[in-house]
């Protein structure tokens, strides 16, 4: 803070600089030796971007586009598990084409598939789960937020995003949503909206974000790192593989067979349309914890999801019981997501992709 030279002993040569470099090197070396045994790998992807906002149609959304969806060759579609479990950096290195993800929290897949059809990607991987058949998995998504954000202006994008957020928050509260949940949800969306504006606006923000993401990914991949998390009470992140099991079981219990059948038919029809358009399509059931799987199966049998793929005539990769570690029962840890992404890339290659 204080820069008055009269109060500082001035080094006349570079001795202190050399000492600083040596001390820094020693600290990093000690960290590399000691930390791997004590510091767990990050639970989540180091960049954790949700991607920019997209609407499937007026009033249908918002969803998130991670990566360059408009120019992707390989497109992943689904809910938050598709976002968390499939690491685009891994697929980018697997020679399957430029990857991107279209997803939404608790997304209703029949809404997402028409959006995927509008993209140029020739290879599409659809993540299927019991949530794919449950329209009201995320009540905030289902209930409100039907208003698309304003077109970005060059001079006032932050103000546009703030006003849009205020209107959505007021609408959600008026429709009975919990104020805290609505505030958190619209806050996330406003951040995503700013990212959206960055993508469609001046290129520098995109450039900065891409550069920062690459640097951060490289750093976290190269050495153990630590972070704070506002929603966790522990310093170091530790997986809680059973955390979502009860929530998922309760949600599956509430789902209605008739609604699921309608959703299954809508998904199958959308998949058939993709195939008819000449796209290569594969459905995949992503890994989850045995507890969560056992909690859901009695209410949403595996056969229902198998029937969707069969009706559409597309392959279904059933990896739901594969041995990968989750952080909460439903989403893979980042390292496991990397491992699973390599595994899935291999599976896709076996299918001739």
């Amino acid at each position: 803070m204080h820069t008055q030279s009269a109060h500082t002993r001035h080094p006349r040569r570079f001795g202190p600089a050399l000492l600083a470099v040596a001390a820094f090197g020693a600290l990093v070396a000690a960290w590399l030796v000691l930390a791997p045994a004590h510091v767990p790998a990050p639970l989540m992807h180091p960049n954790q971007s949700d991607g920019r906002l997209v609407w499937a149609a007026p009033g249908v959304g918002p969803f998130h586009a991670l990566g360059d969806v408009e120019h992707a060759d390989l497109l992943f579609v689904g809910d938050s598990r598709v976002h968390d479990d499939l690491v685009l950096e891994v697929f980018a290195g697997e020679a399957l084409g430029a990857p991107a993800t279209l997803w939404g929290p608790g997304a209703y897949v029949p809404h997402l598939l028409p959006l995927a059809a509008q993209q140029p990607a020739r290879r599409i991987v659809v993540g299927l789960s019991f949530l794919s058949l449950a329209e009201h998995a995320n009540p905030l998504v289902a209930e409100a937020l039907r208003e698309q954000p304003p077109a970005p202006s060059r001079l006032a994008a932050p103000a546009d995003a703030a006003r849009w957020r205020e209107r959505q928050f007021a609408h959600l509260v008026a429709t009975g949503a919990d104020r805290a949940a609505a505030a958190a949800f619209t806050g996330d969306l406003a951040e995503a909206l700013m990212l959206h504006y960055t993508h469609v606006g001046w290129f520098t923000g995109r450039f900065d974000a891409a550069l920062a993401a690459r640097a951060n990914y490289a750093r976290v991949a190269a050495l153990p790192t630590i972070t704070t998390r506002p929603w966790r009470s522990a310093w170091f992140e530790a997986p809680e593989p059973e955390r979502l099991a009860r929530w998922a079981g309760g949600l599956a219990r509430l789902s209605k067979p008739a609604a699921r059948a309608a959703a299954a038919e809508a998904i199958a029809a959308a998949l058939r349309a993709l195939v008819a358009d000449g796209r290569q399509v594969v459905c995949v059931r992503l890994p989850m914890s045995p507890a969560l799987l056992n909690g859901v199966r009695p209410f949403v049998p595996d056969a229902e999801l198998r029937a969707v793929a069969e009706a559409a005539g597309v392959p279904l990769l059933e990896h739901q019981a594969a041995a990968f570690e989750t952080r909460d029962g439903s989403h893979l840890t980042w390292r496991e997501a990397e491992r699973y992404s390599r595994f899935l890339a291999e599976e896709l290659r076996r299918l001739g992709w």
């Binding site: 803070m1 204080h2 820069t3 008055q4 030279s5 109060h7 500082t8 002993r9 001035h10 080094p11 006349r12 040569r13 570079f14 202190p16 600089a17 000492l19 600083a20 470099v21 001390a23 820094f24 600290l27 990093v28 960290w31 930390a35 990050p42 180091p46 954790q48 202006s153 060059r154 001079l155 006032a156 994008a157 932050p158 103000a159 006003r163 919990d178 104020r179 805290a180 505030a183 958190a184 806050g187 001046w202 520098t204 900065d208 550069l211 920062a212 640097a215 951060n216 750093r219 976290v220 050495l223 153990p224 790192t225 630590i226 972070t227 704070t228 998390r229 506002p230 009470s233 310093w235």
Partner: protein, 480 residues
Amino acid sequence: MSFDSVSFWLVFPCALAAWWLLPWRAAKAVALGFSLLFYGWWNPWYLPLILASSLVDWFAGARIAASAEQVTRRRWLALSLATNLGLLATFKYAAFALTNIDRAARALGGGGFEVILPWVVPVGISFYTFQTLSYTLDIYWRRLAPARTFVDFFLYVAFYPQLVAGPIVRASTLLPQLERPPRASAWRLQHGAYMCVQGLFLKVVVADNLAPEVDRLMSLAAAHSPALTPAAAWLGMLYFGVELFADFAGYSAIAIGLACLLGLRFPTNFLYPLLARGPAEFWQRWHITLSTWFRDYVYIPLGGSRGGPWRTYANLVITMLLSGLWHGAAWGMLVWGGLHALALCLERALRGRRAPSVGVAPLRSFGGFAGAALGIVVTQLFVLVAWVFFRAPNLADAGRIAHAMLIAPFGDPLGWAALGHARHLVLVLPVVLMHARRGLREWCGWRETASERALVFAAMAFLLLVVRRDGAQEFLYFQF
């Protein structure tokens, strides 16, 4: 482009090399070009504003200096004031004014109107308008000669280390340094690097990791949550106080460090404000370039303390309310400025001119250690409560947080469960240690050696490498 972005640190070495290797005039031209790139990187559509402001002040300054007639001098000064204050009024305060007119009209039963201005506050406008204002005012008061060339003047206004969020460098400080090439030295290089790393450490490791905890407190207030207990409110505001310090002092440290690497000297902007023993001393340690700007260009021209106690109090209140408004066009900022004005008046009434001062009285000379410690605690508690109005998005939320801090403890459960989030106190520790180190210097005359600074540098650089932030946050003072 921001100091905490990878892009900046990829481009800056080129700018640094050009600064030191090119002939002096070319070096300044390249630095100006880089400054405009730096600013335009954020939003190029606001570049004409800074150019227009600079052109007006450049011509006004030259005309004021060239004219002996007071009327002419006043006219040019008026043009400069109208341009700069007009920019601020249009881009920073118009939306606030129109919104309040709308609300008043609705309250009086008239028809309201939706206020949507097609712009946001341009980054750095409060800083560069104050710099250009001080330029013309200093020339008008015959304290300063005008800049020799427009490139020098525009570089002074737009110089990238201080353009976006200060420190507010006076023309009398920077322009003379731009007249001749700076000299490189081992000390400048090492000190510059130290300040840059310290600033990045404060921003990336401390401020950005505390920000989600502060957001959490604000969401509790917005949601009328019962989890907004006294303990949660105090802890959250402590986090905010440290976050704001780390964010803004971090930015200032990087700015000062960059200037040092360029062989220039910027004024100190933060002098360990947690050591302040009273409100007056707080403003001698916090955002010093702004508080001295208001002192020299508002408080003293209003009469300062020359007109008796009541006139002094009135001048203090006006100055601090304007300071509050400078920070943001919002009622909360006015309340924040008003609270500090009240505290300054109260301190002046109780202590007269004997209030502790950074420059006049070191820590040990005022009331001994116990008195100093008590002064520090009381001052910091007051500052934390005042920050509530600075940070909360509206007065209603601020009221809820202030109630939880000040009134609820006498009736409601304290809510110790909130201390589940106290692990973030570890992020407060570096800031406390930094202040303790300074306290030792002021109290005992202890001074660190160059080797000790080198070890601190290594530790900060190491933590920058291994501590991730939970999502990058824009520097808080960008919005001002």
